[in-house]
């Protein structure tokens, strides 16, 4: 049965490996499995060339190839008769295919070792379902799609998400309500927002949903793994069939080790979120020319994200980026009524804070709490409280303190305070930063605090 390529969208998600047959000019057939076939348009597919091998030589001699792809939901097989057209080593197709491979390479510690050599484009001359490949299905055998897709549902969801972004009073509320809406209205149960710290070239998670509190403060180096790559290239990256892709990457890694090339490899980067994620989507949050962070969404369903999801998540990402940027600018509001702070309750527990001077790192009772600029901010607040009894602080005075090392423009202060607030809530709930009004917050203590400074090492 003839079918149109565009009807086979799910076959090109890389969930079930495909099969490729080629033939040399002398008539020797060659067959291999392929981790991914890319759909270019309704008449073309592309295969990724990462190694110069027999397949590549055969294609140079004889342009014909046959590919079998599988539908990951129904397991139907489709046979595509191909004719080689061209190899691309730059351009949008190459970039898209390369980004995906770079992300896998980065995750498996093979950045720069395992990379795309070319995108080989083939004309699809025939496309047929393989009749008789499967026995007739029991209806129950075919897993239903997890959710009912459709622009109407998602447009409504998008409308609600946009409203929440527009109405948010502070950054923390904005991120929490956005991720909540993505979950409740659109079914993305696992998501996080990481902000870009220009000072350290790292991305830090300041909001998450579906991971538990330990995920706040998780860091990803720029250019590392899926999230770091999306940030570095400022492009959306989608990885589906992640289990298959990572197994493929690890196989290549093993071969490097067996061939005595292990010195070129770096350690594998743990996935930032779910250990058993099957699909990940990382969207750069860009405002104007500036990267402000990354929205990362993932799922245990390898086919969770379709093109429509990408489209509307990009709209959501743009809105988050603008809001994130705007809210970093907020300075202190004029006070309405200067309310007297209630005197603090008598402290009971003693918490011991240590500031390690040479790496700007704060530990509480021997446990890591926070570092870098949020660490220096916390140390300033606790020290001012201990020395001068100061209870309230303004964003403005933090910005004016050169010792904190905030960059002069776009300092991400709000994001840094959110991270600090959440790390405290998790590791030391007796110390809280409570907003008083926009641009001003109080340091509340339900414990006695001991401070000491050390050099580590």
């Amino acid at each position: 049965m003839k079918v149109r390529l565009s009807e086979l969208h799910a076959c090109f998600q890389g969930v079930i490996p495909s099969m490729l047959a080629t033939c040399s000019a002398s008539g020797e057939p060659n067959v291999t499995s392929l981790s991914h076939v890319y759909l270019v348009d309704d008449g073309h597919v592309a295969l990724s060339c990462q190694f110069f091998n027999k397949t590549r030589r055969n294609i140079a001699e004889n342009p014909y190839a046959t590919v079998i792809v599988y539908d990951p939901l129904k397991f139907e097989g489709y046979k595509l008769g191909l004719r080689f057209v061209r190899s691309e080593t730059s351009g949008p197709l190459f970039d898209t295919m390369s980004l995906r491979i770079d992300a896998i390479a980065s995750h498996t510690g093979m950045a720069g070792v395992f990379k795309l050599i070319s995108s080989d484009v083939f004309e699809v001359q025939t496309c047929r379902r393989i009749e008789g490949f499967l026995l007739p299905a029991e209806i129950a055998d075919v897993p239903p799609k997890a959710s009912v897709p459709g622009p109407l549902t998602e447009l409504r969801g998008l409308q609600v998400v946009s409203q929440r972004i527009a109405q948010a009073k502070d950054l923390d509320g904005l991120l929490a309500s956005t991720l909540e809406a993505l979950d409740e209205l659109l079914g993305f149960q696992h998501s996080m927002v990481l902000v870009n710290d220009d000072c350290t070239e790292r991305l830090v998670a300041i909001a998450s949903r579906g991971y538990g509190p330990g995920s706040i403060g998780a860091e990803v180096a720029m250019g590392h793994g899926l999230i770091g790559k999306a940030a570095e290239r400022r492009r959306l990256i989608k990885l589906t069939g992640l289990g298959t892709e990572l197994r493929y990457g690890r196989a290549i890694r093993e071969r490097h080790v067996e061939c005595g090339e292990s010195e070129r490899l770096a350690p594998e980067v743990p996935l930032a979120g779910l250990a058993d994620a099957q699909a990940q989507l990382a969207l750069p949050l860009v405002c104007g020319e500036r990267l402000v962070g990354v929205l990362a969404v993932e799922s245990r369903d390898p086919l969770c994200f379709d093109d429509w999801d990408e489209a509307f998540l990009q709209i959501v990402a743009s809105q988050i980026a603008v809001a994130l940027d705007r809210m970093q600018e907020d300075d202190e509001e004029e006070p309405e009524n200067e309310a007297e702070l209630a005197p603090a309750a008598a402290p009971q527990r003693v918490r011991n804070f240590v500031f390690y001077r040479n790496d700007d790192c704060v530990f509480v009772d021997g446990e890591y709490l926070v570092r870098n600029i949020p660490g220096k901010i916390l140390w300033k607040l606790l020290s001012r409280r201990a020395i001068a009894g100061q209870r309230e602080f303004t964003n403005r005075e933090l910005r004016l303190d050169p010792a904190l090392g905030l960059p002069p423009l776009k300092d991400n202060l709000e994001s840094r305070l959110i991270l600090l607030r959440k790390r405290l809530a998790e590791k030391c709930p007796e110390v809280r930063l409570v907003p008083v009004r926009r641009g001003r917050f109080a340091l509340e203590l339900d414990c006695a605090v001991e401070l000491s400074e050390k050099d580590c090492g």
Binding site: G27, P29, S33, S35, G77, G81, R247, E254, R255
Partner: protein, 159 residues
């Protein structure tokens, strides 16, 4: 020394993906999924089983020129080998072969289960009636992705 060692035979017969490549008189290649392989004659020949329903082109190609390539790939770690050969005999599969193919499908279902494909799906693969394609092994190549992919087995250090 046989073309396929005992250790390699165990791997090839261990319930992993069997992909068969053939070509026609004009060198146009075809791909067909095989349902298991039996290593024969101490490792110099092998028989791959192809379902009748999906292998018409492969059978016509084999009758035309006898050239065959079979790729073996383990889903768990992508360990892959490719065996090249020339047709010795093409015949309908018999009941003994059928038992062999059904056991292969059970092992494949278990193997694919580890990487997330439900066994109920694997069991839907149509296997019968089938043909048995016996071929003489002419070369074996390492096909695991990475450096050295496509090299002859003998050239691989430690293989």
């Amino acid at each position: 020394m046989p073309a396929i060692s005992e250790e390699l035979a165990r791997f090839l017969q261990s319930g992993i993906s069997v992909l068969t490549g053939t070509r026609d008189a004009h060198n146009v290649p075809d791909a067909t999924r095989g349902i298991g392989v039996r290593v024969e004659v101490g490792g110099d020949e092998a028989t791959v089983f192809l379902p009748q329903a999906t292998s018409e082109t492969a059978q016509a190609n084999l009758r035309d020129n006898g050239q065959i390539a079979v790729c073996f790939s383990r889903a768990m770690d992508h360990r892959s080998m490719q065996v090249k050969g020339e047709l010795v005999e093409l015949r309908p599969a018999d009941e003994r072969d059928r038992t062999f193919m059904e056991r292969y499908r059970e092992e494949l279902a278990e193997e694919w289960g580890f990487v997330g494909l439900p066994p109920t799906v694997t069991y839907r693969m149509n296997t019968w009636p089938a043909v048995a394609v016996r071929f003489r092994v002419t070369a074996v190549f390492v096909q695991t992705p990475g450096p050295g992919a496509g090299a002859p087995l003998a050239a691989q250090a430690g293989s």
